[in-house]
């Protein structure tokens, strides 16, 4: 496969994943912000959403007001925000268009359809109903793309590069989300708690569609350290860091088997996978959750760079 095409496909995977994550984050924030103010703590749910998306600086620079209308528009339809859902879909589509031949008709239609749909909302949102409709549309389109890829794509380089991009992006998103909320996830004994925190934990789980999964896995009420355990180490949760690295390693294995070549990206991914495999949540806490997540995000970025270098994007 052409190196440039591999790069395009990898970024299709990443941008699709990012758009999906943003939709889920906004949806969870809507829920959190809807809590009666008597549960309210110091934090503003919309500011915290900006932090989780790592867009606080951009938002402040753009001079926005951190309320629902301001933040939701900034994260969804704002053409000036390079990381808005609109721009993610634009980038996903531009990458997809460059490798139109490597995608199936169904895969292309899902991306092109999502892009057309978001165009329709213009650059502002009329009301909450429009926002909710937009988020539903984006999530449905992204599911449609995954489904199209799963059902119609040849299991070869093209499929593997998309899956690889998705997994790298998903790991990054989960780690960033956890890092923003790490102070909420500190173990028993630390000075946290209270009903607001409880809703924030469940919000994290909702963002990654894992609230029900949590109950099935732990059969316990929502406890912060278990949330961290679930999203970092549990391999049954598709968005956990461990799952993402399992996926990354599998895709790199498939790619290297096809070309009979292994490179630095493979070694980094194998090391990351082994580290998560051996990790225990207690040890992570004793070294510091924040430090762990920061280290993970940096390693994950290095892996992204190594993939680009190894496959010459």
């Amino acid at each position: 496969m052409l190196s440039r095409s591999a790069g395009n496909l990898y970024w299709v995977g990443r941008y699709i994943e990012r758009a999906d994550f943003l939709s889920r984050l906004i949806e969870a924030t809507l829920r959190l912000a809807a809590l009666p103010s008597s549960y309210g703590g110091m934090t503003n749910a919309w500011e915290s959403a900006l932090e989780a998306a790592w867009m606080s600086d951009g938002f402040v620079q753009a001079g926005g007001v951190a309320d629902e209308a301001g933040v939701a528009a900034f994260l969804t339809v704002d053409p000036a925000n390079p990381s808005s859902i609109r721009r993610c879909l634009e980038a996903a589509r531009a990458n997809a268009r460059a490798v139109r031949t490597a995608l199936t008709l169904e895969g292309w239609e899902a991306i092109n359809g999502a892009w057309l749909d978001v165009q329709r909302y213009g650059t502002g949102l009329d009301d909450r109903e429009a926002l909710v409709r937009l988020l539903d549309t984006v999530k449905a389109s992204m599911l449609a793309f995954d489904g199209a890829a799963h059902r119609t794509m040849l299991r070869g380089d093209a499929y593997w590069f998309i899956a690889l991009g998705s997994a790298v992006e998903r790991a990054d998103n989960t780690a960033r989300l956890l890092d923003v909320k790490y102070h909420l996830l500190l173990p028993r004994g630390e000075k946290v708690g209270g009903s607001l925190d409880y809703f924030q934990w469940t919000t994290i789980l909702r963002t990654v569609s894992a609230l029900t999964a949590y109950r099935w896995v732990y059969r316990d009420s929502v406890k912060p350290w278990l949330v961290a355990d679930l999203l970092i180490l549990n391999r049954q949760i598709p968005r956990s860091l461990a799952s993402c690295y399992e996926e990354i390693l599998r895709r790199l294995d498939q790619l290297s088997t096809a070309s009979a070549r292994r490179g630095p990206a493979h070694r980094l991914a194998a090391a990351g996978h082994a580290a998560l495999d051996a990790a225990k949540i207690d040890a992570i806490y004793s070294r510091g959750l924040h430090e762990f997540l920061r280290g993970f995000i940096a390693d994950n970025n290095r892996l992204g760079a190594a993939i680009a270098e190894q496959y010459l994007f």
Partner: protein, 476 residues
Amino acid sequence: MPTVPAFDEMHGAPGSAAVRDVYAAIRDWLAESPHDVMTARRRQAELFFRRIGITFAVYGDPDAAERLIPFDIVPRLLGHAEWAALEAGLIQRVAALNAFLADIYGPREILRAGIVPEELVLRNPGFNLAMIGKRPVGDVWVHIAGIDLVRTDADDFYVLEDNARTPSGVSYMLENREVMLKLVPELFARLRIRPVETYPDLLLDTLHSVAPAGAGAKPTAVLLTPGQHNSAFYEHSFLADKLGIELVEGSDLFVRDARVFMRTTEGPQRVDVIYRRLDDAFLDPLVFRPDSMLGVPGLMSAYDAGNVSLANAVGTGVADDKAIYSYMPDIIRFYTGSEPILKNVPTWRCREPDALAYVLDHLPELVVKEVDGSGGYGMLVGPHAAKPTIDAFAAKLRAHPEKFIAQPTLALSTCPTLCDAGIAARHVDLRPFVLTGTNGSRIVPGGLTRVALEAGSLVVNSSQGGGTKDTWVVDE
């Protein structure tokens, strides 16, 4: 716009109410389809095109970066005998074009014989000095030709233009057929419509046939595109997909030891044949335009060494120049020894003082074109132009007469077309695609029919608001 009386593809002579035999099934179909059913079908077709992403960028119009070319759901039909005559004429013409190119870059017999003026060839902007003395594999220069035809009555087809550089539009021929198969399966059951879907196979076979000698049994062909921002990018990606070859940009290729390689995830891979949809001037910044970011440095060195084939060959632009066009009947006689089967439109070469004087006197009735122009840009359609436009054009003509040719305004045939008020006659042309390899010339039965959607308009170019139709060659 005033309507020119014209031959109608369905009814025959201007004003006739009869229906030509080949259109009998279409007459019945139109009669039994109410207007709202037809418009619903058209909406369905549009939806299909938009979803699959057929788009066509129009230069200079930022808002329409991805506009759809309108598609008309009433097909244009050609009978078996009509097609057979066209096919013979097209093959003859492309053979002459190839012989002409081999000659002017080689022995130049036609220039010595005084058939075509020497300076018209040697000083032509399309004449490429880098190709003098070169011989592409099999002496095939124009592997893919798009010949624009118009019809004026039952038997007369004129060639309006030869496109010998990088003709486009074939994706519409293929996609239009796919859409029609979905929309009106009943007509395909009623008529014996010859398929066009073999085009990708024939094209791939053509490309493989011209691979360099050292390429081995399975040559690697690629399609070289200027990139996503090119107006025909959709077509490039569509064709690469149908051919099963890589769609490459200049930066995906590199030249080492006069050999061309593409950068792949598994390392460099040798390339034997490049179906390039990039103009000569951009191919190699070391030889042509140094500012080209689209080409491949060193490509011409690999081409000269015979290590890679380009389709079409470099330097074919001289053959589709509109000033050379006016000599085509003589060129055909010179190389094939027989009379041209397809007619040439009488052409005044404005570089000749007598012709210029005539053209300036008769501008309101003529069509004036730039000799190296395309896409319907920079042309004057006299009968449809206002006085100030004509005066402005006359000034341009006087300043640079050598840049223009003029032709009488032909009454292009019309074809029934779905319009807002119902079915109405609109002018059409036809672009069949002729493929030529070392194994001869082949044409899929059909081509791209372009239709001027505005009543009376004679300009069918998609960049000027034209649409397309599916073209059916019907075996009776």
